[in-house]
């Protein structure tokens, strides 16, 4: 008997939308944006040690980079008045530095004024535009629309379009510590950190949060997604705030961090993709972007400083992995990855099949053919990576209750020590990566892709990765029996790891090995024009695209399974 996935309807934990933190935040949007802007200014002044010369330089650098960005990398979403705004900043900067009659105080005032104008512009830009009506609408569209598509595809017959036999939850399975998540969300503030493989993740996670009966989370979504108007609508409705990766200047980054920190302190459940962008290599993220993560730690410390020591001020970090048989963008992602890591060693070949694709086409394919997605929710941790019990109390490695505020204490008081918090952020990052590996669910497709790639690698042990990937595909084949033996070895090792709680497996992995292999071959990267792995007429295992095979293989990177070859 295969284990049952969680498939029941959850009641919303906060039935009245007025209690949703995100709604409260939307109501107070104006004041909130102002507060973010003010606090960001404070941080920047502190970072520049209140030295006007340094501040002036930062402002000039910011202005210069923004001008350059507007010229070299304009996007549809960019507001029209950008040029004018930065022109004005330039004028003011010039005025402050050239006007000899100004006293030092007056000059300072001008710089601070410029800083204020920039931070308020940025905070306004970053802030989310959550509208409850839109949220409700989107949620029903997604659930209803997807359900129709699904049933049309799976249930035969005329009435299929109205059938309710299948719901989205058959397609997207949610497993793991969902009850704990729901429970803690009523008590403290959740920061959810999922793995990131596909642009679909944002919408998927939004849907999952709503299925679990949680109020909407706020999250940072790349501003580039707002270029596509349909995405923009989705994102706004789901409470996304905007992260513009083009803007790398200090003022922007500090404003962004302040926004995130303030929102967490406000009690808004948040979501970061800690890998920053989608995983290019297909590996589980091992180096995390720590900028936003650090805001969770900062917010926690701030709560303690303000004396909010109870569970209401506690922040819980919940890792989530999303597991696919198929990642829509795999061809372009792995191409990016190889050209970044290999530089001139890797030549892009023209491949007309994988450069363009259509989201809609994918969605239809996704619902009409069987390719399942599973989402596993990990155990909640405090901001230092300690597990927590049902009361939300942190536990040490031996299960003793400890007080998280003690991490921020020195000489008996909660103190601010940015170097300490930087180190804590690294520790939290490492813990999240560890948890990702633990809650990762192995699919049949990961197993076959991993085994096939490692076999090919072992047979060509003299070649490095880039030569390996350039091997002519028509010359690569693996005899089925050999392949099966190798799969068995990897499978056995995975079961050992599972015993030790270091990985999880999907229910379909409990079938016989023959079935698992067949299932894996059917599903691995199933909609790509060139399949990463298939069985040819002679029964041999062959690949049509080595780099895609490498991509899907990478999902099992980091478990030392390669030592089996």
């Amino acid at each position: 008997m295969e284990e049952k996935y969680i498939k029941h309807k959850y009641d919303p934990i906060l039935p009245s939308k007025d209690e949703w933190p995100v709604v409260k935040l939307a109501r107070e949007r104006k004041e909130f944006v102002k507060k973010v802007s003010e606090n960001a200014q404070g941080r920047i002044l502190k970072l520049t040690s209140n030295n006007m010369e340094i501040l002036k330089e930062e402002l000039e650098t910011t202005r210069y980079r923004e001008k350059l960005r507007i010229k070299q990398n304009p996007w549809v979403v960019d507001p029209d008045d950008e040029g004018a705004f930065w022109g004005k900043v330039k004028e003011s900067l010039l005025h402050a530095s050239s006007e000899t009659s100004l006293s030092k105080k007056q000059r300072e005032a001008i710089y601070k004024e410029i800083l204020e104008s920039i931070t308020s512009r940025y905070s306004e830009e970053i802030a989310s535009n959550f509208k409850h009506q839109h949220y409700k609408f989107i949620r029903s569209v997604v659930t209803f629309g997807f359900a129709r598509l699904l049933n049309a595809a799976r249930v035969k017959g005329f009435r299929s379009i109205f059938s309710n036999q299948y719901t989205l939850q058959d397609k997207i399975q949610i497993t793991g510590e969902t009850d704990q998540l729901r429970d803690l969300a009523t008590k403290g503030t959740i920061v959810m950190v999922p793995t990131h493989f596909s642009n679909l993740d944002s919408i998927l996670i939004g849907w999952i949060i709503s299925v679990l009966g949680l109020p909407p989370f706020i999250y940072g979504a790349g501003l580039n997604l707002f270029n596509i108007s349909i995405f923009a609508y989705f994102m706004n409705a789901l409470g996304a705030y905007k992260v513009d990766r083009r803007k790398k200047n200090l003022v922007y980054l500090e404003t962004l961090k302040t926004y995130s920190k303030e929102a967490i302190q406000f009690g808004c459940h948040s979501l970061f993709f800690p890998g920053g962008t989608r995983s290019r290599s297909g590996m589980i993220e091992s180096k995390l972007k720590l900028g936003l993560l650090s805001t969770a730690i900062e917010a926690q410390r701030n709560n303690y400083q303000e004396g909010i020591t109870g569970i209401s001020g506690k922040i819980f970090v919940v890792p989530v992995t999303i597991n696919y048989h198929f990642v829509l963008e795999a061809p372009s992602l792995i191409r990016d990855h190889l050209s970044i890591t290999g530089q001139e060693r890797y030549y892009k070949e023209n491949d007309e099949f994988s450069t363009s694709y259509k989201i809609s086409k994918f969605l239809v394919k996704f619902f009409t053919k069987g390719s399942d997605i599973s989402v596993s929710v990990g155990k909640a941790m405090d901001v230092l990576g300690n597990y927590v019990n049902e009361k939300g109390e942190s536990l040490d490695q031996h299960g003793r209750v400890i007080d998280t505020s003690h991490y921020f204490r020195s000489g008996g008081k909660v103190t601010v020590d940015s170097q300490r918090e930087e180190e804590y952020t690294h520790m939290l990052g490492r813990r999240i990566v560890e948890e990702f590996h633990r809650i990762n669910r192995v699919f049949s497709s990961h197993l076959v892709a991993f085994t096939a790639f490692e076999l090919i690698k072992a047979k060509n042990s003299k070649l490095d990765l880039f030569d390996l990937i350039r091997l002519p595909e028509e010359e690569i084949f693996i005899e089925y029996e050999e392949f099966k033996d190798a799969c068995q070895r990897v499978y056995d090792q995975i079961l050992i790891l599972r015993e030790q709680g270091l990985i999880k497996i999907a229910p379909h992995m409990k079938r016989s090995l023959e079935e698992i292999i067949a299932h894996g071959l059917d599903n691995v990267g199933m909609y790509h024009a060139k399949r990463p792995l298939i069985r040819n007429k002679k029964g041999q295992i062959v690949t049509e695209d080595m780099s895609l095979l490498y991509f899907y293989h990478n999902r099992l990177h980091g478990y030392e399974l390669e030592n089996l070859f």
């Binding site: 300690n386 400890i402 204490r409 020195s410 170097q419 300490r420 180190e423 804590y424």
Partner: protein
């Protein structure tokens, strides 16, 4: 958590009253109230009543306890000064009482193993890096203390107790630990440097013990200063390579805890590791030497562990490997020396 814990914040804890622990406790006691922990009831009584620890004099204000809980609850900063062979046990004993607010600094120049239940070093085939723990890693694994630091450098207890000038390194990823260590230990006669590469500093202190045994052996053979210069320089190269393979940075090997400590230990008849090498060269056997020593020579265990690591990682470290054969496989020291003289080193320095 009651507030009394934080009330007496000037009390500093020291765990272990071996020769180094005693010296550190005395140095700390010059500026602060010190509470030391000893396992043994007689030692505790001796300290509290006679102000001596196993015959060595102790500062009058130092109090002793046998109770880990009392020490943890009264001190926010704790120095762990126990040999590596007992370190895991002591850490486990203190674990239930340590809190995340504790700052823990250790002064142990050895390694521990994290082996599956019931296995010993000889049974483990694949001794990879994550089975080898430095002391700070033991602390983080066994306890909830995260603000952890280490104390390393040329600090021969005998000289320190005489008040001769010296310096040490406090290494920690946390600036506040370094600052606290400096605040507590710095004096006119004792300089304290900081380093953020804690693993590199720990490894330097650990690996130099191997070379110290070899240095003792050379002296025991009656060889001169040329040979010693050769050993120190080649030993340094080996330390750098090993430290890097185990996750330390090259830089730390050149600091006080690396080359500083190496030169000191390779010249010091007071060093236990040096003494082991010296007596071996004089024809004594290892078990007999160890039997007669009061405190452990960390280098012996280190050689064993590093040998296992070298095999698993497929690395070469000629001095360590040959020393292993001398210590555990009855290779004659002269033969080992011959082997090293023939070893095909060509490049003087290839890591900077």
């Amino acid at each position: 958590m009651s507030s009394k814990i934080f009330s007496d914040s000037s009390l500093i804890g020291v765990v272990g009253v071996g020769s180094f622990g005693t010296v550190i406790a005395n140095m700390l006691a010059e500026k602060n109230q010190v509470l030391v922990y000893a396992r043994n009831a007689e030692v505790v009584a001796e300290i509290n009543e006679n102000h001596t620890a196993q015959g060595k004099s102790m500062h009058e204000s130092i109090m002793a306890t046998q109770d880990p809980q009392q020490l943890c609850e009264s001190c926010q900063t704790i120095f762990f000064m126990v040999p590596s062979s007992a370190f895991q046990d002591v850490a486990r004993k203190f674990s239930p009482f340590l809190q995340p607010y504790h700052l823990v600094i250790h002064g142990t120049k050895g390694l521990c193993l994290d082996l599956p239940e019931g296995q010993s070093l000889d049974e483990v085939k694949n001794l990879d890096r994550n089975r080898i723990l430095t002391m700070s890693e033991v602390l983080q694994k066994e306890t909830v203390a995260v603000r952890v630091g280490c104390l390393a450098g040329p600090n021969i207890a005998k000289e320190l107790s005489k008040g001769q000038p010296a310096a040490t390194v406090i290494a920690s990823k946390f600036n506040e630990v370094i600052l606290e260590g400096q605040r507590l230990l710095r004096s006119e006669k004792f300089q304290v440097y900081g380093n953020s590469d804690i693993i590199g500093v720990e490894l330097s202190g650990v690996l130099k013990n191997i070379i110290a045994i070899a240095a003792g052996a050379l002296a025991g053979l009656g060889l001169g200063e040329n040979a010693k210069g050769l050993l120190i320089s080649r030993g340094m190269v080996e330390m750098v390579h090993l430290s890097r393979a185990l996750g330390g940075s090259v830089k730390s090997a050149f600091g006080l805890a690396g080359v500083g400590d190496l030169v000191t230990t390779c010249n010091s008849v007071n060093s236990r590791n040096y003494t082991v090498g010296y007596r071996l060269a004089k024809g004594e056997k290892l078990p007999q030497i160890l039997d007669e020593m009061e405190e452990v020579a960390e280098g012996i265990n280190t050689v064993k562990i590093i040998k296992g690591f070298l095999e698993a990682a497929d690395l070469r470290a000629p001095i360590t490997e040959n020393l292993y054969r001398v210590l555990f496989e009855d290779l004659e020291i002269e033969e080992a020396l011959q082997f090293l003289m023939k070893y095909p080193f060509n490049v003087d320095v290839d890591f900077v």
